[in-house]
Point group: D2
Chain length 433, copies 4
């Protein structure tokens, strides 16, 4: 977790204080359920809630842990300092540390997912607004980095919207998958704790009970969670790369927002670097790198080994914090992206009409010219454009072999941009409903 | 794709003949739609269907491609040889190669997913049967590879069932995500082909129209598909690893099926190797290795570049073929796994009752013995078991300090396995409904 | 292994016939060593060499394997058909299958490395030739995709040369690391075979004896091998990406070679796609994807498990074949790359002299103008270039505040390209010696 | 970077104060070189050294950066506060930020490598000591987790030594590869800074000059660095997995050290978990996850983009800190590993002599018994061991068909462990010289 790539909303989820608060809630709710079942006295269960408004002292817990060498015991000892050690003596009864730790981790991941869902919604809002704004802003479509046929900037935003919207749906699935808790004991048999305790705690913590756990919650859920973040990060990189391409000097169809006052920019107006989207490209790699370790974590020996733990201590916070930061940065970039429609037209016309050569070729053959002849006709005019910088339409209109097959109006029509944008509304309706 | 790790059902999906067949169907259905729209003559559309029962000649198409250097044109040329080149002249009109190629790839992935779904169902059936069979077969649960508390073999199968059932659900999602097609032209604007053609073709091919495509179908769908296969493979490795552990000489709680007649096994009865599950461990890595490249494929330059293509030529077939083979192998291993309940009991009793020491410790404190004393009592008896091979229960019953706190019946009760299995039915009900 | 991305030189290494040939040589050399040690009769050792010129019948061996279910035994049986089963009865004595299999795999990887070394040398030759050819071809250097300062095309080639030369050095190390063999028996103790047999066989096969093996050769060697190929593939992608950028329509400083006769290109001269380098980008991903599984393969249970085997059956051939093909494709692309020096100059001058603004700013301050004033002076002239398309130098020469600080000669000098290229020879001497 | 998995020696390398110190040294040495070249006044160069003993104020630099939005400028501003802004005015002249940043990063990686080299040496020392200690401690070798033939614990340590020794050699190569610096300006042409400045600074900082750089040092060097760490981590996991297996309850041939006083361990002596080696397994994944992003970082657009930067901010510290911690933990585990030779013998004899069945089979055939008969003889005795727990040797000696072929002495000899350990010294000589 790198401070400069972090937002406090997300880092807060991973702070020790938050963790201890969740531990506390799990223990307190478990106490309630045990009291309801008659396993422990009601008054002891109630007593735990006395600490409801306490901010646990992280330094004090660390101090105790230095002695006990066990984090959960250290916390319970500290809790007893607030609740009274006699009152607290039934806390955690029949539970194992993993009951608390694993359920807490999933609470954190679920909350992280909720933030990421909000981030995605912000990205979607920005993409939709820019799509509508530039629905009819024509620019050249490119395959292989080479001019192909006209499209519109709005379609570019719309497809990123559709892609991110799929990402949001996947994220919602991943969130639901990870929102489980388990309080099932040392090997998952509920030997020392009633399954109804698990049910109560999960209901209170916004989780579903894990149908079958061992000492731990199965890690395929986590693998799916991080895999999903990896896919979303890849889509983010896709958008970032488009913007980086648009901003490169020779293209310059868009620029990341650059505040007027920003020094350097106006003495070197050509040197405004797409550093935010370059950064997003790198952040995507960081998010993605958690995917394979999360998958390697799925295999545990028998009812659990602890190999997954160190991995999760790192990727749990790092990956969610990085993606949260990145999605917000992405949203900001999209919201404020400076777009140059005029340059788009200039770029499209770089080879004065040549992008229409295929339409002309088709028109000639449809007008009855043989394929070979049509090809030859287009070629000789195209080469004058390519080599001498002539204008393609002008050349065609001046070529009597061409005008023998096509009327000036027909030729003119082949250069009509409306031909390419006629279905934009249809596509928008598909994407935005 | 390695022949020995392949099943013909899956490899068939990826054969050239299948690919050409799908290409044909797409072109023929597209022709129908165009005829309905009045874009091409009905009779030309109908003529294409004359080739309905043709098995296309792959060698002939390759021969043509050697000249044209273009696979789709080569196929269309060959198609014209069947349909008649005049009749065929409207085939593919207004479409780009990617319309056919990308839609075909998704048809193949969808069919591959259907096979994988069936594979998963076979695995689930096997797991369920064995879970029910061994619902009450007690064995020791282990954390960190170390004996913890008793559980049952049925619970092990049940949790693998639950995990694979989640995998199946994820696979169904992935299948739905990948089941889209696109016939939208060079940059996705439908400039030369009506969106209704796409709708018709997709309906006929069992796909949904891609709401917005460029020259290609967006690759986040494919990334999600391969990520999902990676998670399933990881769960498979989890199961395989459990079996490998069970079969190791010192544990020997289960063995992969070994046919009676198999030479070598009876002269060296101790040397039966879990080679199938070891193999599954390796195959899981092969499936997983497609995940990152599939994610790297998401980023394409502008309306498409072709960097993704070579990756997909490899991972499309390789990953689905490998996982299909592996899941079937896994199902077979589970179906026929030889289980040794007696060894399970022997293993559990290796340290004669010691796994119950925690329950005894708890009972002593609940009986009013101080924590320190209870610990000391358990310790001195436990050490006799550990160091001298004594029987824990016998020692406890002979220790007057222990019997001062607990009756023989109470001590006896702590060694009751029923204590650990009392919620097995509850868990089974959660998993199997 | 995809046929279209394969060269016969490399695929030959991985053919069954090659494998059997290596098996044969290992067995025959082992026999020699055993005879020298007096372990087996000399005549039996000699008899094996009768098969020296035999081309083993792969179909026949497969047929036997279908019965024996064991590949090495099948081969030995077939060998006995050539040598005579009495003569052959000491073949393989005291050895385990893995002795043959692992040593063979390393022979194959070593040979594959030799081909890759030759490939790298071809790439280096091409890069060096083009570097020298374009040593002084000035083009704009870009950071963040934005024009920065002038550099030369030769420097671009030279840095790719230096990078690939490091790759070659790494590859040589990896080759040496993998060039070991082991004939040490079931758990590596040489219980049934003398270490001198291993030494003899390795010497004959061009390998070093593995200092300590178990049943298998340790897999960290293989992990390092595939990691090295992954780094080389990444460098290849770096070069490919540069070319893809250079070819994009708006830049067009270079194009992959396109034969004059190639249809389509001249009727659509703007539509020449960098499909080879796009392909190389994808192939780099395929090479890279073997790295993590190869690392996962390092961990084996005790003296061996067979989880690594399926992984290696795939990545052994696939990765070496793909990289071999890719490096040759890369060499071809570089050798024939069409370079447009004139476009380079045009691109550099897109914002008429503006890339020199920083030098002018520096010159003004060095001439005693305050930073603030210098900045203001540069800015006002730069903005006329940026917004009105004026020429920067002309503007500066006409700005009396500027000329008050700098003479026309001094201003002129700031636009001298020689300033940027003065150390090219120094750098070339560093790279090419 | 997770505090609990960190050692201060390594984290110190990555602290802001260290970074600023390196920046300072680079700038000061660069000043010296420029003064020697007559580019700046000697006194200004000398003046910079006034700050030689200054501990730079990180908070103050952050404060300035909050205004300037540029880290290097913030540092230079702060430096001027110490040196005097007039004296400092030539600092950094002609250099770009990347000259400082990239060279600093490589200084840090080189120092990190030096620590890792020392770590590896500690691991090697421990492995060697334990190898010698247990050179003759016999235990069963296992393939596929199944008993195969006897080996010794010393051989296990020796092979880990050999593997880690290769790792050390690779690490030294990686260190040398990364130990380069570059001071070559905005696009690497040395336009504004003489190459001799780079040479001087590099010599002073313990680096070699990068033969050809752009704005940045080429990232293939870094990819190789992290790939090497990934291979080492994989070897570490290999060792950790061996220990985890040895400690599992049913095997119990070794245990991680557990201090006598450690509570819990003596009341539950069976429950000592290999948590350190499990942790190392997870840490290996964390180290390995940096490999692919480091390879993705190799491709930069033209003379640089900044996509690599965020990746390196994470993996630079995280990966080196994690591996440094892990290697020290590993060394400690090996140094103090508690080994149980008696259990090793017990495990080996689990199936009373059965592991020798293959030797007996061989002896019978060498004594002239036909393969079929020999097999039948071994089988009938082996099955009595397997099914009834008889002793294999006793059974053989009592089987008159066996004793007809082999004398009691010959049978006895087949059970001699010395047969398996006779080449241990040879192997040790290979490994340790």
């Amino acid at each position: 977790m790198i401070p400069r790539y972090s937002r406090p909303e997300m880092t807060a989820i991973w702070e020790p204080a938050t963790k201890f608060r969740i531990w506390y809630e799990i223990e307190a709710h478990a106490g309630d359920a045990m009291a309801d079942l008659g396993v422990i006295p009601r008054e002891n269960a109630d007593a735990v809630w006395k600490a409801k408004d306490v901010e646990f002292d992280v330094a004090r817990i660390d101090e105790i842990e230095a002695v006990t060498k066990h984090d959960v015991i250290a916390f319970l000892t500290h809790l007893a300092e607030h609740v009274g050690s006699d009152q607290a003596r039934f806390v955690h009864q029949g539970m194992t540390s993993s009951d608390v730790l694993d359920t807490t981790f999933n609470v954190q991941l679920t909350r992280a997912a909720d933030l990421l869902i909000a981030d995605m919604e912000r990205v979607l809002t920005a993409l939709k607004a820019r799509a509508i704004e530039h629905k009819d802003t024509v620019r050249i479509g490119r395959s292989h980095g080479i001019h192909a046929e006209p499209t519109t900037m709005g379609l570019t935003f719309a497809r990123f919207y559709a892609e991110m919207d799929r990402g949001l749906e996947r994220l919602r699935n991943a969130r639901d998958e990870i929102a489980t808790g388990a309080i099932s004991g040392a090997v998952g048999t509920f030997a020392n704790v009633d399954p109804r305790v698990e049910e109560h705690v999960c209901a209170k913590m916004g989780l579903k009970p894990e149908p079958i756990s061992t000492q731990v919650i199965p890690r395929d859920r986590h693998a799916m969670f991080f895999a999903t973040l990896g896919v979303i990060a890849s889509s983010m990189e896709n958008i970032a790369t488009e913007i980086r391409h648009m901003q490169r000097t020779e293209v310059l169809e868009a620029e990341e927002f650059f505040s007027k006052g920003q020094k350097g920019s106006s003495a070197m107006p050509h040197k405004r670097n797409p550093v935010l989207t370059e950064n997003l490209t790198g952040l995507a790699r960081l998010v993605r790198m958690s995917v394979v370790p999360a998958m390697e974590n799925v295999t545990l020996w028998h009812e659990r080994d602890i190999s997954h733990s160190s991995v999760e201590r790192a990727i749990g916070p790092d990956t969610t914090v990085t993606l949260d930061f990145a999605l917000n940065r992405l949203a900001g970039v999209i919201e404020k992206l400076v777009i140059y429609p005029e340059t788009m037209l200039n770029n499209m016309n770089k080879f004065r009409g040549l992008v229409m050569s295929q339409r002309v070729l088709l028109a000639l053959t449809q007008a009855g010219v043989s394929r070979e002849d049509a090809y030859r006709l287009v070629q000789r005019n195209a080469m004058r454009v390519w080599e001498q910088g002539a204008d393609f339409k002008t050349e065609l209109l001046a070529d009597t072999d061409v005008t023998a097959a096509l009327t000036p109006e027909q030729i003119e029509e082949k250069f009509d941009l409306g031909y390419h944008t006629k279905h934009v509304d249809t596509i928008f309706a598909r994407v935005f409903g």
